[in-house]
């Protein structure tokens, strides 16, 4: 352990999370690495009321895609990714960086290749309702009114800085 590691260990404001990279949210409003999956919500290209819940399981790389009403996605056959899963994988890499997503899914992505191309799983439906409700919970943050009360703990959170 060198001295800069030691300084980081003892810095109360040590930076732990990498900077968030801005991405377009219209197509994939929600992406997360949670519950053992890369999972998220993809807007339907044709119907503004409809969304797809898509996920890729860590380790097995099981692929799942259905509407929020649990209708299976017609585009997901065998081992190839439907367009929703492709968008999900692209946006996850945009948001978290390829390294973190690959590490979470336990997949080797050869130099110059893409995450989607390196996955070798097959169709394996995962619970869409649970992911959809996590998305709703995520959206609910935007409904909470701003507060003027003291929240001194925010001093520990300096953001991750800008992506330069």
């Amino acid at each position: 352990m060198d001295s800069s590691d030691e300084a980081w260990r003892l810095d109360p404001l040590a930076r732990v999370l990498p900077a968030v990279r801005p991405r377009k949210l219209a197509k994939v409003p929600f992406v997360e690495l949670a519950e053992g999956r890369l999972q998220g919500v993809v807007s339907s290209g044709s119907d503004i009321e409809r969304v797809y819940v898509s996920s890729i399981t860590a380790g097995s790389h099981g692929l799942s895609c259905s509407t929020n009403n649990n209708r299976p996605c017609g585009g997901l056959n065998g081992g190839s990714l439907c367009k929703h899963l492709q968008s999900l994988a692209e946006e996850a890499v945009q948001q978290y960086g390829l390294d973190r997503v690959a590490r979470y899914l336990k997949v080797e992505v050869p130099e110059g290749s893409s995450l989607a191309a390196a996955l070798s799983g097959s169709r394996d439906p995962a619970p869409a309702a649970a992911v959809f409700s996590r998305f709703l919970r995520h959206l609910a943050y935007l409904e909470a009114p701003a507060s003027t009360a003291a929240e001194p703990e925010m001093q520990w959170f300096r953001g991750a800085g800008a992506v330069v």
């Binding site: 260990r9 003892l10 732990v16 968030v20 709703l136 701003a146 003291a150 929240e151």
Partner: protein, 460 residues
């Protein structure tokens, strides 16, 4: 801040601070490896903490908690006691550093004159403490996703209750970092001070029934903003304004005010201002460097104005650099709230001028002052290049455990023949830099996209 003041700040470090922080490290080490692996060496470190508190009201409970933990019995009550002991050591370090800083800056500070409110409650707090206990027993190095996922349920319950929000914001911030880090390999480095700080704050906050502001006094006068800091994690953003309050009578006071909004991790950078549209006066004052006329706004004993748009009106343009030059040297600074005393809470506004810039360290009258160039909020125009070209800077002095550094909030920078000022709040009503405007229009407005989705999906 004159050269002599900086010299006084940097030259003598207050006695006892490194020793106090070393004791704290003993506890933090325990959280890193887990109470289940306490062993002789770590038990000794805990005993030293209790020893340091001997003769204080925490001394004997701390001794008892250390004895029990060292014998392998872990209870919530004992963990709360140790979190309190740790906070007391950091509070003492805070006080020593603040006193030293005040002496160096020749800054006068008010005394704390409120009686303690010992409201201890139940509720989601107990479940939070149980989760924190589990983390402590396991240790950061032993955590897996399952441990971390336990936070989701707790945060959800806390958010349902306005009084639980402060703890929810803290847990959400800690859980996001743990989630991105676990499992932690044996060779990986752990941010032990940071996570122990967050763990202890949560443990202590979870035992309070209310998070009231305590007694407040209504103040009427003119608020002259000095600068604004933007503090942020995935699901919360806080706009924190430092300023000078001029009242018809009395010494100008150093105050701060702010608002905190919930957000998602996909909303960051200049877009976060759009979460605060309920505060048009505050945002306008920041974007246009205006003063604010306040009528009967509540001021807490620790110098925080509880922001209230209904009691504020926009005033004249007031250059923060003029405020810093004219009023800052003579301000009355507020006392720190007892439970908030921690070196991280040290944020003393200062003006620095007449320096030579060189990356992360500036030279002022032959002294080197470290500058926090790598954590500038993406919500405003300050960049490392702008800091390099700067000739004057308003910032807050902070202490990172090993020394003082300056967090810049605003700079005056030379471009060609003129000098231009850049403030952290310049973009409060929208970015003014064409490059940033262009980048924003390319990626779309995340707040609008998610609000549209929320409107369509949440109220079904």
């Amino acid at each position: 801040m004159r050269g002599a003041q900086l010299a006084a700040l940097l030259e003598q470090a207050p006695a006892g601070v490194p020793e106090a922080l070393d004791l704290v490290s003993g506890f933090d080490d325990l959280l890193e490896h887990g109470l289940a692996r306490i062993g002789q060496g770590r038990a000794g470190a805990l005993a030293a903490i209790a020893g340091a508190l001997e003769g204080t009201p925490l001394g004997s409970p701390a001794h008892e908690a250390v004895a029990k933990l060292s014998a392998g019995s872990v209870s919530r009550e004992h963990l709360v006691t140790l979190a309190g002991a740790r906070a007391a050591l950091l509070g003492a370090a805070h006080d020593a550093l603040l006193e030293h800083c005040d002496a160096a800056l020749e800054r006068t500070r008010g005394a704390w004159n409120q009686s303690p409110s010992a409201a201890v409650g139940t509720g989601p707090g107990e479940a939070v403490q149980a989760w924190l206990q589990e983390l402590a027993v396991t240790g950061w190095r032993g955590l897996d996703q399952g441990h971390v996922d336990g936070a989701d349920r707790l945060v959800e319950a806390l958010l349902a209750d306005p009084g639980g929000r402060r703890l929810a914001v803290l847990l959400d911030g800690l859980a996001a970092e743990l989630r991105a880090s676990v499992p932690i390999g044996p060779a990986a480095c752990v941010p032990t001070r940071r996570w122990a700080d967050l763990w202890s704050r949560a443990m202590l906050l979870a035992r309070q029934a209310t998070n009231g502001a305590g007694d407040t006094e209504p103040v009427t006068g003119r608020l002259l903003p000095l600068g604004v800091d933007v503090l942020e994690h995935g699901t919360a953003v806080q706009v924190l304004v430092y300023g000078v309050l001029e009242t018809p009578t009395g010494t100008p006071r150093l105050v701060r005010t702010g608002v905190t909004a919930a957000k998602t991790d996909t909303i960051s950078g200049p877009a976060v201002w759009r979460l605060l549209t309920a505060f048009p006066l505050l945002l306008t004052a920041l974007a246009q460097q205006r003063s604010l006329e306040l009528r009967d706004v509540a001021l807490t004993a620790d110098g925080r104005l509880l922001w209230d748009e209904a009691r504020a009106a926009l005033g004249e343009v007031a250059d923060p650099f003029a405020t810093a030059r004219v009023l800052l040297p003579g301000v009355l600074a507020p006392a720190a709230a007892p439970l908030d005393r921690h070196p991280v809470a040290l944020n003393e506004p200062v003006l620095v001028e007449g320096y030579k810039t060189a990356g992360g360290s500036w030279t002022v009258d032959g002294r080197n002052l470290r500058i926090e160039v790598d954590r500038l909020p993406a919500t405003g125009p300050l960049t490392p290049a702008l800091l390099k070209a700067s000739t004057a800077c308003i910032g807050v002095l902070r202490h990172d455990g090993s020394g003082w550094l300056l967090r810049p909030l605003a700079v005056q920078a030379k471009s060609k023949n003129s000098s231009t000022a850049y403030h952290g709040g310049d973009w409060a009503l929208g970015p003014t830099d064409p490059k940033v405007v262009k980048a924003e229009s390319k990626s779309g407005d995340p707040v609008a996209v998610l609000r549209e989705r929320a409107g369509r999906l949440l109220r079904r």
